[in-house]
Point group: D3
């Protein structure tokens, strides 16, 4: 159940029984020679829809551009500054809170979003804390689809050390499963990209010339993508149920 | 050619010949009893893709949540504060400008975005103006798909006075053409909503109880939607060509 | 009745019967070879005073520096960034709202202010909308004195195509009527400035070397200025009355 | 020589010999039962013009609304938040600096502006300091016209202890000299208002019910106003000359 | 070597050989019935000094108030909003970067700081990334002293499950070691506090009535504190050396 | 009684009888060839503790980095931009206000903090003023320890004209009294530094090459420092008592 495909009376009806909304958040940034710029948004949105269907939970529109300053030296990458992303998340959450939504389950596809999103949650809570009184009923949580137990096990099994940390075969495979016409199997050179850390965009491009970090997305297949998708949806559906009904 | 479905080398290649990118911008807000919350984002994105195909121009991801504070009293409506939207647009434009993009053609689906988007352009230019010197090569422009000559003529022909100004049959029809499974033909009561102006969310809901303003979306049909889509894509493709090649 | 020439008890008295205040807003920016830097502020303030007298409405101090980043390459031009102007308007409106003012009728002399002023109104309303509840009683509206029906007809009659869009004979004439000692009749070369659009300050100066855009202010006369003043005051007085008493 | 009554070529000409501009800054706030709301702006602007004439220095438009949060419980008072005023001053100074102005001599009419204006100067300098390198040539200074030696001596002589600290006979007298038609001689009750400090608007109104603080503006006369004006212009003209030509 | 106890020529001398500075960051917030409000700042600062001595690295002044909005319902707790903390970190890092410091090793005593500090690093890098070009030489990293391998092993050994997550015996013990006169051994009721998550201040106080979360600080001793201190300094000194000399 | 060495129940107990808290604020900036970078923070904190002991008043943690943009060209100097410092002060005051603190007595060690701190107080009050209604009970005041009558008399007696205005013998002596191991008696060349004003960091360094302004800290002795400390504590204790109990 996607919010943007509903009417407002349908949302009013939904809120009689359910105060939870899934908030997919991704990024639009380079994903190596054969990964799509939209990888993190595409995957977060698709997994969110799957979890929404599995659990009967509403899914908000994806936040498609995230905190990706470190990728800006590669054409097509887009980024919100941390302060901008914090404001976006605050405004989106506060909007839906006006209608009675209380629980915001963010499904995230991009590691670079974690700090800003968590800081945004704190800004939302801080507004209540500095107000004194009874506080807010809102609860926000963030899960990275690529780190659930099932996905982690699968990526270890399928790719081992070649999973890496950016433009990973896992996320590339999942994207290809979702957009098979965009699959670009490719022998990469070197097969496994260098590992390491980075600071700003120039630093990342200098050290990771094709954009990959420690990964070999040449291993990705559409069939892998389906297994990864299923694992992510399965795990996050269970986590969503636990989070919203702690006692069940 | 959608940016999020490309790799970064493909964008690098694109930039050899073309410095223009289409930026669709919409909103996620109530659209009356039978219009979708995502109407403005869905329509802006679809028209942008159509224009992108017709003109060979890259299309960035849609900005799906806009400046819609006035709709916040209806469940499911989401809004960015003007200052937040300005920051989002600035960050997105500045990101792509780093790679060589120079012309940003915003295709807009929501009247409430116009002032903030225009102010964002001024913030971008002001950064150059206050810097002194040779200034920026960036050029930004905004077009509302629902106000092109062809679309205006069509909506007059099809709906006359019943077009109204919010949750219009034009935009509802276009949405249904794009998502026929979400079409909800409905006899509305009253058929034509009251007209008028509004200030904040409470004011709008008080005066426009089902969310429509001056419109009768009960007139919308999928077939109308196709004609409106074609007119919007045709007109905006011509405008894009003129804007990028003034002399042609 | 100008606010800055009243005492606070006089304003308290005024508020017993009237909740409306006129807010003149202009700019301090180049207006070509013979137009004054203060043109937009001088004209907005004078028209506002005229409307205030005609309608018995209080007039606030003029906002004399506006959003004029595009003129900053000409000496003497001053500009507020859009975000600054939005904050100024918000603070001024919120100040007067504390005392019971509810209707803010902005009379504007500068096209560059429109987007930021409209965005400021949305920020004011958004504060109420995000607060939930009964919302705000405030209503803000903006009118450009140079675009009322009477002024438009006059400028067509007097100048036709030579009116242009910046440093127009209309505004120059009005300024000279108000400051006859500053009238500077002049044969300009070329008589009519080039037309076109602009982005930042360097771009504007490059394309419009003497600051005029499409206009021939050499046609301005003091007598024209009086007619334009009368038309603007007449039209805006009627609009103010309609806006504050919709039924009358 | 007032900036807003000049053309841009006149400013270009001025800048060949002179890099200094006078920036009047005031406030629009209650000034007791018979003082005008615009007192601080009117006086700052008039003294600035006088100093401008005496020294051949350009005078920018007055900043008419200042940091006056403490007066907001009296009708007609307007205030910019400190952060807003800081942004206004920064934008105005940075605008004129683009054209070659280097020295900004603020003539201030309102004690509440001092901290925010000084902080604004620091923001301007900090932008240069955090940039490293050779730094900025800009120099800003602030003078309160009501505290020059000559004005202080006059107010002691004329009013002694009854000068007080807000809605003083000095500033009221000066305003009446400038606007004799707005003079409102009045016997006040009590003749001298209570003294003391204040925090926010409610606190000020509670402790100073008619808005005056420690003053007896019933002593003001138009003739006093002329003497005060002359003293202020004389003293500040000398200070301006010293500040711009330290060795003379 | 503490920065605040040096002269500027001493820092200039230091910079000839060393571009690293340790930045301790803590918090001032409730730490249960017998933990000090300054626990997180005291411990971060002390560990930082120890690491500074062990490695010959300069130590900046501690950031003593952090992002602790969730503790604000307990008297004495202080918090910076996330946006404020981000600005503080940015300004401090940018200050020292002007002098040639390139590596900023943050030693953190408070989990609530992690997201905002990480977001601040991204703001610093983003300023470089959006600037294009060669980017920044700055590198920032954050380590929580309470999570080093040695400290984690010790706390498991000493407290097992009773370590908890706030007002832990580890941090209380370390504080007592540093301030033995402030040691307050106490039998707590219940001995082990409830576990769980929290959102804003009211929520935390409701669920954790004495401020502890999952911990039994009644187990803390001064002798434990010394062992914890030694482990933290040992581990972080090694990490600092590795971070600054990756190849060694 | 230092806040950071208390537990929250101790603060709760304190608040039964006392609503005042001392807020020390300093700076971390160059203090000439033999003055410590931490001079202003060290002195403000020590004097605050002394006043706290003498009057039984709680002392908050020192704000150790202040508004010192003008010192940034000397290694080791740190600065918060004015806007950042304003936010820090606002957050700290608002935090403690939640618990019932009403009176904030800032003891300041750095002239550069005065404007930003005063502006911060106005921001805090403005939040109440713009809220309308009964306003805030908070009261904030700022005292510079180096300007009390007793300290001023002592510095005149001990140093006369050689006190200067930055890196003064007074503050250096006080620092050495507090950190006798950091005393660095030194014959300076020239003995007395040049006087003058400054704007940004480059300007200050250019005109004051060793960082001193008008001072001869070569005159400082530890014994002087004790006398200065005693005078500051004595004077500010009396001022604090008067401020909190105006009638006593």
């Amino acid at each position: 159940m996607q919010l943007h495909l509903q009417t407002w009376p349908a949302i009013e009806h939904y809120l009689r029984d359910n105060r939870t909304v899934i908030m997919p958040i991704g990024s639009t940034e380079q994903h190596g020679p054969n990964g799509l710029l939209g990888t993190d948004a595409i995957t977060a949105e698709a997994v969110a829809r799957g979890v929404g269907e599995a659990t009967g939970t509403l899914v908000a529109p994806v936040i498609a551009v995230g905190m990706a300053q470190h990728h800006l030296a590669f054409p097509g990458s887009m980024a919100l500054r941390p302060g901008t992303l914090i404001a976006v998340i605050r405004d989106c959450v506060e909007s839906l809170a006006l209608h009675g939504f209380e629980r915001f389950f963010f499904i995230n596809g991009h590691g670079g979003n974690v700090a800003s999103t968590t800081a945004a949650f704190s800004e939302i809570y801080a507004a209540a804390s500095f107000g004194g009184g009874a506080g807010t009923r809102l609860r926000c949580t963030l899960r990275n689809w690529y780190e659930t137990p099932g996905v982690a096990a699968l990526s270890r099994e399928l790719y081992g050390e070649q999973e890496g940390s950016h433009a990973t075969p896992s996320e590339v495979a999942l994207t290809w499963y979702l957009h098979p016409d965009r699959a670009m199997p490719m022998n990469l050179d070197p097969p496994v990209a260098p590992r390491g850390s980075f600071t700003d965009a120039a630093d990342l491009r200098r050290n990771f010339p094709d954009g990959r970090i420690g990964s070999n997305p040449g291993l990705a297949t559409i069939e892998h993508g389906k297994r990864i998708y299923d694992a992510a949806v399965h795990d996050l559906s269970r986590e969503l149920r636990r989070w919203t009904c702690p006692s069940s």
